[in-house]
Every structure is written in C-alpha cells, then in structure tokens.
Amino acid sequence: MNNLFQYVPGNSLIHRLNPVSKLLLTVVICIAAFITDHIAVLLALLALDVLIGVTAGIAGRTWSILRGLLKIAAFLFLLQVLLIRGGTPVFWIITDLGLLNAAKVVLRLTVVCLPLALVLAVTRISDLTNALVQVLHVPYRYAFTLATAIRFIPQFLEEMSGIMEAQTARGVAFDQARGLKKFSMILPLCAPLLISSVRRTDQTAVAAEVRGFALRTRASAYKRYPFTRVDNAAVVFCAALLAAAILI
C-alpha cells in the first residue's frame, strides 16, 4: 500500500509520453467506460488498461492494484446483485438483470480506477504539475495543491504506522483485530494524525514560501514538455477510442 502511488522509473513508450497525453488517455478511458453500455467494450477497456500497464513495464504494480480493487469490487457486486429487483430470477433473489448490471458497475469501477493509479506510477508528480501549468495553463497554485496532496500520501501512511506502533508498544493489539473491530480501533488515531499533519503542512508552506513559491510562473520550470509525434498519435488514438465508445 505504501508505494501504490509511487513513481516507478522507466523509459518505456508510456513513460516518455507527455504527461498531458497520459492524463488525456486516462480521462478518455474513464469517459468511454461511462458512455458504453456493453460488457464487451468494458472488457476491452480493461484489457487496454492492463496492456498499458504491461507495456510500461509495471505489470506487478498493475496486478497489485487490480487485486486491491477486487476486494471493493466483490463487495459492490454483492450489494448490486442483492438490490436489483428487475429481470427474471436465476437463483434465490438473484436475477439475470441484477447479475448483468452488477458486472457492469464493477467493471466500470475497475476500468476507471486502474488508469488513474497507473498514471501516477509512470509520471513524476513534478512532471505532471509542470506540464499542467505549461501546456494546459493550469494556475500553479492549483497544480501545487494537487502535487502536494499526492506527495503527502506516503508520508501520512508512514506517520499513521508510526502512531500505530506507538499504540502497539502501549499494549493495543492491532494485530489481533480484524474488519470492523480494527477499523474502530484505528478511527481514534485520526485525531493525532490530523493534528500532526496540519502542523506539518504549515511548515511545508513556509518552506515553499522562502524558496520563491510566489515567484513561480508558467515559464519557471527547467524542463520543457513539447508534444511529440507519439503524443499526436496518442491524441488520435484517444479520439478513435471515444468515437468507438459512442458508436458501439
């Protein structure tokens, strides 16, 4: 979990894409997943997600994200199947329509979440924010907010495990609790986590300020993010994908 959002260095075609193209591809996959109503298209999109992960050389990461999503998906699937009342019953209170719709919801969720997680694995956060500011003209403060939020995820987890260790040392048996019980044990720890985080973000704000946060403009970034031929191809691919999702 700790490194689920961390950048994996690499030099694959996907890595070399402009961060904006990667975002575009992600957004288009998401839109396509919501437009289409065919299970086959959703499956194809899922295959595309996995293919992107594999070509980027992060098959392992892709798999572990999928496995994580599977748990949530299983829960959602069960809920949908039990709640959807239309269609002809297949078994007990489960109907064929329920099964079909539940499968679509779950697939949609997976297809949408996977590329969002993958884009962070193949893009440095600084490249993402720089490209957003340079190419898409997003105001820097918004891009900085996004980058800081992502940057702090591993730090929060580190801090959380630190707090949990401190509690364990004082006799709290986190390891013996499961499910809801564990959740109710972790919940009170959110207060110290929040307090230390707020204090920390304030320090980070000062650190950014004294290193010229306010001076940063669109032209500040050292690296440049030109659109290459591969990026143009990616845009065409995105357009085709979107058209296919609408037409099928």
Binding site: N3, Q6, Y7, P9, R124, I125, S126, T148, R151, P154, Q155, E158, R200, T201, Q203, T204, A205, V206, A207, A208, E209, V210, R211, G212, F213, A214, L215, R216, S220, A221, Y222
Partner: protein, 279 residues
Amino acid sequence: MIKVQDVSFTYKDETHPALEGINLEVPEGGFLGIIGPAGAGKTTLARAVAGIIPHHYTGDFYGSITVNGLDTVDSSLIDLSRLVGIVFQDVESQIISPMVEDELLYGLENFGVPREEIPERMEDALRRVGIPELRDRSISSLSGGQRQKVAIASVIALKPRVLVMDEPTGELDPRSSRQVFSLLKSLNEDLGITVIVIEQKIMLLCEFARQLAVMNEGKIVRAGHTREVLVHAEELEALGVNCPRVTTLSRLLAVKTGLELPPCVDLDTAERMVRGLMI
C-alpha cells in the same frame, strides 16, 4: 551583516513573549552558534532573522532586525529569502518534492536562475554536501541523514549570503554531525557565507563557531566570542548547557589550584595546560 536590535516577539494568541530584548550582531562572514535549553526561543530567533517572523507567523514584534541593510519587517519575504537560506529543524516538512532532483530544482526555477546555470548549480550543491549519487532517488527511499543533506543542498544551491540552520544534527549520528559542521565551515570559509546555527552539541560549537550566544527564556544570557562565553562555564551549567569536558577540567583546575587559567575549548590547549602545570 545581521543586526538585531531590542527585538521582542510574542506569538499571536500567546501571553508570554518568545523573545525579549534581543540584541545581537553578526559580521559578514561570521559563524554564530546559538545554544540553550528547550523553549529558550532559539527557533523563534532563527525565524525572525529569516523574516518568516513577522511575515508568516504573526504576533507582536518590537525592535528591528536588518540583514545586509534590509529591514526584515519592511522588506518582503521574497527579497529576504534571496539573501537568507534557512533549514528547519523538521527536515521532513521542509522537503516539497518527491524526488531529490526536483527538490533542488524548485528554488532554482522559482528564483529565475538562468537555465544554463541550473545544472552546474545543482551538481555543485550536491557535491558540496557529498551526495551526488542521490540525484535521481526518491525522497521516501532516503534515510534521515540523507534527507537532511538534501534539504541543505536545496538551500545552498540558491547561493544565499546567510545560512540559518535550526538544529541540523538533531537526527544525525556523531560522524554525520561532524560532516555537517565541516560543510558549514567550508561554506563559511570558501564562499564567505554568514552562518547561524542552533545546536545542542556544545563541543561542535566550540570547535567551529567563532561567536556563541546562550539563550534562556527568550533572552540572550551571554554572547560573544566562543572563548569569552566559555569563561562563564558555571553559568552555562546552571542553565543545563553542558560545557565541553576540557572546559570543565580547566575550570576545576583553576578553582583547585587557585591559579589564573584561561578556559580550554579543545584538547590540544588542555593538554598543554596540564603539562605546564605538571612541570
């Protein structure tokens, strides 16, 4: 270079002043060590010199601080930060980027350092702190000491005239602590950077700092040349500041023998003194 005159400061919503009637002067190219018990106002003083007080942390500010002629209250934090680099005690929260390279780039990009100068400045800063091989690493994969060095590198890459360090060796082992101080010494001597360092390890301060200020309860109890301050070793011990063992030795010898003995700050002079007494 730095002139602190009658400075008092009370943080907003606090009743007790964090600084009270501080007077201090650090010449250009000086090396000042600040020592004192927890809650003495050391960090507040560091923040005030860097202009973070009163620009970021507000409160009641009296007196004046000038850095290279710039008044910290009248000048903007941006102008001050071109002059003064500061490394905080909590290094973790100082690091903004997830990668070492980006962390160094951040300030360089913002302050508009010319593009062709950037690679050289980055390499130079990393080499000075001794971590050129960490350039492409992610911050989360580094140890505490390495992160400390990244934070220092990101500040010295900006070539500040004044470097303020708040307990830079807090999380370091003795060997790395010494390395940090050797680095400060070289920055001070080679580049002429004025150094202000808050430090608990008195031995390091005695060896490297030319000036020493002892703080307690928001006030400066003693300030002056390191050797002069150490004459008042008893006073320091009363504040809970441990003196170097050689200083304690020379003080005790002076008391026991009744002789006028100057305080020793390093092993060599102590040895010479003891040998001299034995003859």
